[in-house]
Subunit: 238 residues, 6 copies
C-alpha cells in the first residue's frame, strides 16, 4: 500500500499541515483537514499511511460487558494486523462519551511499528499515553472503555474521521496544528509543491519579519517572483 | 432476510415505538430509539426490514459535480436493489448540510415496493415528498444535492443511524414519535410482549382516565394484576 | 400557593407570552422565556402555578430496570400530589435522550385538575398526548422511558427549566410561541400592565395595518399617546 | 436594484429551491441554501430582492431598556425604507435567545410592499405572524424583544444569514424547504436553466412514478435525452 | 460521612480514573465519568468525599448586583461548612457563560482542608488558581462573576455534575484524564478490585511493551492468567 | 482613536480580565467577556485599541481560489492600515472550519506595531505563531486558509466577536483567562476602579490565605472596610 518514494516520504516530515492543506486546495480539495482532532503531545509529528478502523454504536448483546475475543474482534485484529509506517485511523463518529482505545493497545501499535493513532473520538489512559513517544490525535479524553459506546465493525475500508474521507493508504500527516489527509494518488505531487511553496513562503516571511509591507510581496507580484527566482537560483548554486 | 411470520409482521403495525422501546429495554437494550430523526408526514406508520446504505464525507475527485454512474454508484445501486418490505436506512453521519436523497429516488423506492426511508441527515424536495404516500424520516430539509457533502460508499453492512446500530435485516418501526430499531433475532419476542403490554396499559389507561389513582395501578400491584387477569380472561372468552 | 385574584388569573388567559416577556423586562427581568420548549398542540394555552419536579442523571442501582415504587418515587408522588390550576414543571437538564414522562401520567395529571405539563426534556407517547386536551410543552419526543436517563429526586423546590429559574408557585403561561415564567410576587402587576399594553399595541397594530408609518407611532410619541388616550377614553365611555 | 425581467421574476415563483440550488451548484456555487431557517407558514412561497439588515450583540448603554428612536434606529429606518419586491434579510448571528422582530414591524413591512422576511435568529408574536399572509422564515420563536440581545447597526451592506453570504439585491427565494440566495448577476441564467431542468425532471419523475428503472433514466443517458428531446419538441409544437 | 478505611482512601490515590471507571462498569455502573470536566493543573490528583452545591439560573431580584450575604447565601455557607477531605462539587448545569467561583473562595476552600473543587461550569481567576496547590476541575474559564448567571440554591443534596449523578459522600477521584464518581456504598470494593486490576494490567503492559502480541494476553486467557498468578505469588513471597 | 492617558493605559497591564469584568458589571455591562476565545501563549498579556475587521461567508466567484488583491482585499488593507497599540479584532462568526489568518500576516501585524490579534474563528500556522512574541487569541487551530470559508468585507465598523459587541477604539484586554472588551467612554473610570478593587481584594486574599473566614471579610462589612482603610492609609503614607 506504500505509494511514496523514500525521498518523498521523508520530505513529508518537513512540511506543515497548513502548507499541505493549501496545496491540496489548489488541486481542488477543500475538505482535507480534520475538525476537532488534536495532538496529545506537544511538538507532535505524524507521517504514515492510513490503516482504517470503523466503529458503530454498541449494542448490549454484542458489546457490553462481553469479553473481547482477540481472534475475531475487528479492533483487536486491526491492532495485530497494522504494519510499519501505517497510522491507525478510527471512525468513532465524533462520539466522545467513551474512549476509542487505551494505553495497552497504543503500546502494541507502537511495538508493531505503526506510525501513530488518530481518532475523532476520545482516548483513555491519556496521562500514560502522553508519556509514550508515539504520536496520537483525538478529540478528547474519557475514562470509559470503548465497548460501552462503540462496536468495532470492520477495517481497511473507506471511513469518515474528523469530517474528512479517509481511504486505506491515504497519507496521514499531523503536527501541532492537527491532521491532514492526502489522497494517495496526489501525494507525490502535493509534497513536491509544498516543498517549493515552503521555500518561497520562508523567503517572504523573512522579508516581512524584516519590516517589508505585504503589498506586492504576499502574494508575490511578478517583480517579487523575479527577485525570489534570482535568490532561489543563487541558493541552488551554492 | 425476512425473519418474522406474516402474523407478527402485521402485529408490528399496531404497537407504538414507545412500547417497543420499553420491551427492548426489558431485554437489556437501552439504545434503540433514533435521536433527532422525525417523520415528514403526520400519522406516519413505517414497518420493514433494514436495507442499509453508508455515506462518508465527499471528496472533489470522487463526488463533486461528477455525473452519477447509475450502474456503479452505491446509492443508485442500492435504490435499484432494495426489495419489498425493506426500508432504506442511510448512515449520513447526522450531517444535515446537504440532502441524503430527493424526490425522484424516493419515487423509485416506492415503486420497487420499499416500505420507507430513514436517514439521520437531511432530505431535499421535501414539499414533493410530503405529498407522496411513502413514510420517510429525516433530521431536516436541505435543498443541496447529496454529492456536495456525501460519498455513498457501500450498502447492506452494519451502520450507525440516529446514534443507533442498524444491521441489515433489523426491524425498523416508525410512528409519529420517531423510529425504533429491533434486532432481528429478538423481534418475534418483542412484538408479542408488546402486544400483551399494550392490552395491559390500555386497560390501565382507561382506569386512570376514569379518575383512578396511579397508586397500586401503575405499575400494577398484585391485586391490580389479578383484576386485570380476570378482565383479560373474560375478554378472551367473549 | 395561589397568589392571584380570580379576575387577574382570568386575564392571564388573554395576553400573549411575548407581551408578558416585555412587561417583565420593564421590571428588570431579562431571562423569563424558556429556551427550546415547544407546545405539542396548536392553539395551545396554558396558565397555572408552578409545581416543580427535579430529575438528575440516573444510576443503575437506583433507576435502571427497577420497578417504580409509587409510594416513594418522587415523580409518582408529585403526580399524585399536584392540585388544581398547578402546572407540573420538570427540570430534565435539557436532556432529550429519553422521555421525562408519558401518556398515562399525563392522563393522571389531567384527572387531578392540573393545568398542564412543561419539561425541558422529551416526552414519550406524544401521538397519544397530542390527542389529549391537555397543554404540554417539551423540547422533543423520545420513545425511551425516563428511568434510563433520569432519576426523580425531589419536588416543590426551586429548579431550572429551559434555562429559566422556576420557583414553586411562580406563574407559568404558555401559548403557541412558548412558555414564560412570572415570579409570583410581581404577577399581579405584570398582568395588569400587559392588559393595558395589549390595548395600546392593538390600536397601533390596527393603524399600521391600515398603512400608517411607524414613525411617531411605534413607539408612540406624545401626540400619538394623546390620540390614543382620547380613543381609550371614548371606548371606556361606550 | 431590480435585476430581472418581469418574465424571469415571474418564472422564479414556479421553481423549487432544490432546483435552484442544483443549478447554482453547476455554476460552481456550493453554499447557497440557508441552514436552519424554516418557513412559519405552510405552502410558503417567497421571491424578492435582498434588503439586508445587520445586528451585533447588544450593549446596555446602547440597547437595553432604551426607547427606540424611529428616526435613527437602523432596524426602524430599514423597515421604513424597504421597497416593493424586497425581502428584509436580517443577520442575527444565528442567535435565537431573543427575537429579531415582531408582529407590528412585520405588518409594516407587508404594508410597504415588501415581499417577505428572513432571519437566522428568532421571531416573536409568531402566532400572530402565522395568521398574516406574509412569507417569513426564521430559526425559532422567542418571546423576548430584540433589544435584549441584538443591536441593529447598519443596513444594505453584505451580510451573513443562515451561513450564506447575502449581498443587497441578491435574489431571495423561499419555499416549504427553506431559502436559497442567488447572486444577482447569475439570477437570469439560473432561472432559465431551472425552467429547463424542471421540465426534464418532471418528465423523468413521471416515468419513474410509472415504474421505470432509474438506470439510463436518472441521470439520463444519450438515448433517454433523445427521447426527451422528441417529447419536448412535440410539446413545443402543440 | 467518611466511608472508607484510611488504608483504602490512601489506595485511591494510586489508581487511575480509567481503572476505576472500568471496575465500576463491571458492577453495572455505565455512567460515572464526568463529561467535559478538565483539570486546571497538570499532574492533578484529587481524592475526597463529595460536598454538593446546586446552582439554578439567576434572576434579577435575587442575584444580579445584589451584595452577597455571607451568612445566608448557600454558596458562601457551603464554603464555610465544607470539611477536611471533602470536595466541593457544583452543579452549574454545564453553563459556562459565567464563572461558578473564583480565587478567593478557592483559597478559603483550601484553608478549610477541602480536598478540591469540581464544577461543570467555568471558573474565574484561573491564572491565580493555576498557581495554587489545590486540585480544581472545570469545563472552561470565564471572567464574569457567578451571580450574572447562577443562583446558589442549596447544598448537600443529590445533584448532576458533568452528566453524572453525585450524592453527598460519594467518592470523587480526579487525575489528568478527568473525574470519576464512585457511589459511597461500593467504594471499598471498587478500590480493592482496582488495585488488583492495576497489578495485572501493569504486568500485561510490560509484556506488550516488550513486544508480545495481545493475543491470549489482553484480555488474558487461562494460560496467561496462570502465568500471572505464578508471578503474583512470587512477588507476594518476596 | 486613543482615549486613555499613558498612565491609565499602563495600569491596564496590571489588572486581570476578571477584575475588569466585575467593574464593568457594576456599571451595568453584563456581556463584556468573549466566549470561547483562548490565548495561544501562556502568560499572555494583551492591551490595545480595537481595530475591527469583518468576515462573512465566502462565495466562489469572490473568494475561492481567487488570488488576493493586496491593494483592495479588506483583510490585507486592514493589516497594512493598523497602527501602534491597536489590536486586530476579527468577526469570524465563530466559524472554525477554516483559519481567519496565518503566520505571515501575524508577523506583519507585529512589525506594524499592532498590540495583538483576536478572532472568534480559528488560526493557522499556530505552531509558528506560538513561537512569536505576539499575543493572539482564537477559538481553535485549523490548517485551511481563510478564503475557503471567509470573505473579508469591511473594517473599522462595529462587529461581534466572541458574542460581544466591539466598536473600533474600544479597549481590548487579554490575559490567560481570555479577553474583555471595555467601551472606550468608560475605560478610564473602569481602570481606576479596578486598581482600587485589586488593592482591596489582594488585602482580603492575603487574610483568607492566612486562615480567616470569609464571613464579614468577603464581601467586607463596615468593620472590615474600616480596617482596610486604615491599612491603605498607612500604605499610602509609607
Amino acid at each position: 500500500m506504500e505509494t511514496l518514494s523514500v525521498d518523498t516520504f521523508k520530505k513529508l516530515r518537513e512540511v506543515s499541515t497548513a502548507s499541505l492543506t493549501s496545496e491540496l486546495l489548489k488541486l481542488g480539495y477543500r475538505n482535507t483537514f480534520m475538525k476537532g482532532v488534536h495532538p496529545l503531545h506537544t511538538n507532535s509529528r505524524l507521517v504514515g499511511y492510513a490503516f482504517t478502523l470503523r466503529y458503530i454504536p454498541a449494542r448490549e448483546d454484542l458489546d457490553f460487558q462481553v469479553e473481547y475475543d482477540n481472534l475475531k474482534n475487528p479492533q483487536r485484529v486491526a491492532v495485530e494486523t497494522i504494519g510499519e509506517n501505517e497510522v491507525l485511523v478510527i471512525d468513532s463518529r465524533g462520539d466522545i462519551s467513551a474512549a476509542s482505545l487505551g494505553h495497552i493497545l497504543c503500546t502494541r501499535l507502537k511495538c508493531r511499528g505503526a506510525a501513530g493513532l488518530v481518532t475523532d473520538g476520545a482516548l483513555r489512559d491519556t496521562p500514560a499515553i502522553r508519556n509514550m513517544d508515539f504520536p496520537t490525535y483525538a478529540q478528547a479524553a474519557h475514562g470509559t472503555t470503548s465497548s460501552v459506546v462503540h462496536h468495532p465493525v470492520d477495517f481497511q475500508i473507506p471511513i469518515a474521521c474528523g469530517g474528512v474521507m479517509v481511504q486505506p493508504g491515504d497519507l496521514i500527516v499531523g503536527d501541532d496544528e492537527g491532521v491532514v489527509v492526502i489522497p494517495a494518488h496526489v501525494a507525490e505531487e502535493v509534497v513536491n509543491r509544498c516543498h517549493e511553496r515552503d521555500l518561497l513562503e520562508g523567503w517572504i516571511q523573512e522579508k516581512v519579519a524584516s519590516g517589508a509591507s505585504i503589498r506586492g510581496l504576499y502574494p508575490p507580484d511578478e517583480s517579487t517572483l523575479a527577485e525570489y527566482k534570482a535568490w532561489r537560483d543563487s541558493q541552488a548554486r551554492s
